[in-house]
């Protein structure tokens, strides 16, 4: 057969394969391209996501509340696209349906943070992150399940029942942004938004096999996000690829007059993903735990071996403070901030009264109030603030030798339903490899790097403060040489 004909047949076949793909399975950049070229409409794209959600939401318990106006907004988006071909320059997410973690306030749409305290709460204002997405033309599909108040790493402590991991019917998705990562993994949206205090984007991204980007603290505004630990809370994107996550970050990042802790840079952009310069990559040896689940460390080492083929990447082993100190610091600081932040929920101005708090929130508030109380403040809270300095300095020191750090995201695979029962420190043990960088406010990414027992393994990149560019470039390179991120679970 002549070569030309063969190529023609092959490309024809590829096209057919592509057509078989459902619209809801598209990445954000593919969906945008399709909308721009008028291959399909926003109504069709939104409908595909809603169809998938309608079919499977009862089983996977991903969305708590749907946005009844999504369809109307998609129609409006289509009208705008038809009218003005240059509209995407002003509205870079026009017509793209997305899922939002339920701790972001959405005006006139129920927001619960998965707690019965806020069971009937209808916000009267909108979070900065969702405002920016709305202004960019994105269409909110609904609000996703999470650990109640974001207290946890499983989505099992939700007052509305656990979310099921699309990769295993009896598995947890991780958390606290487990609803958002499961929404992306199950193609119930084109992208999702989560928030991380210590691991809540990266760890569920790892367990659900999607790309989770936790920006530097202050990169994305916390305004309108129901506060957990205010000194580490960081909103961020969850996508099907790192290129998608980067695209979203460019829209939601930037100084906000409503958040005094936001980084004083008007916007954030990364123009080229190419690795042109030599990059020193530090392999965090302490994060390959001896008692990690079988296969996790080996899978991550294989991913590192794949990366080593790039001559611009120089790898060295580095050592960080034992993660057990980060667990201790985080336990004290997070609970202290929680006890203060949850003090405002009195059921008078909105929500239900304090008898509606479930046991995890009570446990955390109690320990926080204890560590802040007279006689214990110096021994607990003050000591933790000092140890936080030690952790920050530890990273500063290692970043004089390397430009970026690499390790597993989670020492284990998605755990079975029920794993949190009777585990007072469950979240901290799951987040052991992400807590230190959160305490220091550093940016981090988790990308899928393989499977063990049909469950995804997460590869983690940690960057210097405000250096999202470096970790995004590395993750993007990894996703060009592998296709683990393209693997999809069988949803049924």
């Amino acid at each position: 057969m002549p070569k030309k004909l063969l190529t023609a047949i092959l490309s024809c076949r590829q096209l057919l394969e592509k057509n078989k793909m459902q619209l809801n399975q598209l990445t954000l950049l593919e969906a945008l391209d399709g909308l721009k070229k008028k291959k399909f409409t926003s109504v069709e794209l939104t409908q595909a996501c809603l169809d998938q959600s309608q079919k499977f939401n009862d089983k996977y318990n991903i969305y708590l509340t749907f946005n009844d106006n999504a369809f109307t907004q998609a129609k409006q988006a289509d009208a705008e696209i038809a009218k003005d071909p240059k509209i995407f320059e002003r509205k870079p997410l026009l017509g793209i349906p997305y899922a939002l973690k339920d701790n972001f306030l959405t005006k006139d749409l129920r927001t619960t943070a998965s707690t019965k305290v806020l069971d009937n709460y209808i916000p009267v204002y909108e979070s900065t992150v969702s405002t920016r997405l709305k202004n960019a033309g994105a269409i909110l599909l609904g609000k996703t399940n999470m650990d109640a108040w974001a207290h946890g790493s499983s989505t099992e402590t939700s007052d509305y029942g656990p979310t099921i991991n699309p990769w295993g019917e009896k598995r947890l998705p991780g958390g606290s942004s487990g609803g958002s990562t499961a929404a992306v993994a199950s193609d119930m949206c084109i992208f999702a938004i989560g928030s991380e205090t210590a691991g809540s984007i990266r760890q569920p991204a790892s367990w659900c096999g999607v790309t989770g980007l936790k920006p530097s603290y202050g990169r994305c505004s916390r305004y309108g996000v129901i506060a957990m630990a205010s000194s580490t809370d960081s909103p961020g994107p969850i996508g099907k690829t790192i290129k998608d996550a980067k695209y979203i970050l460019e829209i939601i990042a930037g100084e906000d007059e409503y958040d005094g802790t936001s980084i004083k840079e008007k916007s954030w952009h990364l123009n080229s993903l190419e690795i042109k310069e030599k990059i020193r990559v530090g392999i965090v040896t302490d994060y390959f735990l001896k008692d990690a689940e079988k296969g996790v460390n080996e899978t991550v080492l294989k991913a590192i071996a794949d990366l080593q083929k790039n001559p611009n990447l120089e790898f060295t082993d580095v050592s960080l403070l034992d993660p057990k100190y980060a667990i201790a610091v985080y336990t004290i600081l997070q609970r202290s901030e929680v006890s203060s932040n949850l003090g405002r929920f009195d059921g008078i101005r909105y929500g239900n009264d304090r008898s509606f708090f479930a046991k995890e929130a009570k446990r955390r508030m109690m320990f926080g109030a204890y560590s802040l109380s007279s006689g214990y403040y110096d021994a607990y809270y003050k000591k933790a603030l000092k140890a936080r300095t030690a952790i920050v300095k530890d990273f500063e020191k290692v970043f004089t030798k390397v430009d970026v750090l690499i390790s597993p995201t989670s020492p284990c695979l998605a755990l079975p339903l029920g794993a949190t029962q009777g585990q007072a420190m469950f979240g901290e043990m799951q987040d052991i490899l992400v807590e230190a960088s959160s305490i220091a406010g550093l940016p981090g990414i988790s990308v899928s790097c393989g499977f063990v027992n049909q469950l995804p393994v997460g590869l983690q990149f940690i960057g210097k403060m405000k250096d999202e560019a470096m970790i995004i470039k590395l993750a993007a390179y990894y996703q060009t040489i592998t296709d683990w991120h393209k693997q999809k679970p069988e949803i049924k």
Binding site: N120, Y121, I122, V124, Y125, Y217, G218, S231, E257, G260, T261, I263, K264, K324, Y325, I327, A328, V329, T331, I332, R335, S339, G343, D346, G347, I348, R349, Y350, G351, R354, S355, F357, K359, K362, R363, M365, M366, F367, A369, Y370, S373, A379, Y380, K382, K383, A384, L385, K386, A387, R388, T389, A390, V392, A424, M425, E428, A440, G441, M465
Partner: protein
Amino acid sequence: MTKNLTIDEVKHIAKLLNLNLQESEIKKLAGELSEAASYVEVLQELDLDNTTETAQVTGLTNIFRQDEVKSSLSQSDALKNAKKTFDGYFVVPPTIRKK
């Protein structure tokens, strides 16, 4: 520094937090809080005497804005989620009762 929390201590903390706990919860929490306290014990291993404290990591200080009046929530929006209102006010539980 760690010790097991007593029932009275747990009751005291619950009072600070305005939480009404059942006796069974109090007993359980005493155990769980003591366990959490044992996890943070490791900080004693670090020499932190000459270390300063870090409360936030942005390096930002004194973030102010001009003292200008800007639009904010309307009265009806502010009251929208309240269970009890009266004459444009929130109704709060009594804090002082007659004996």
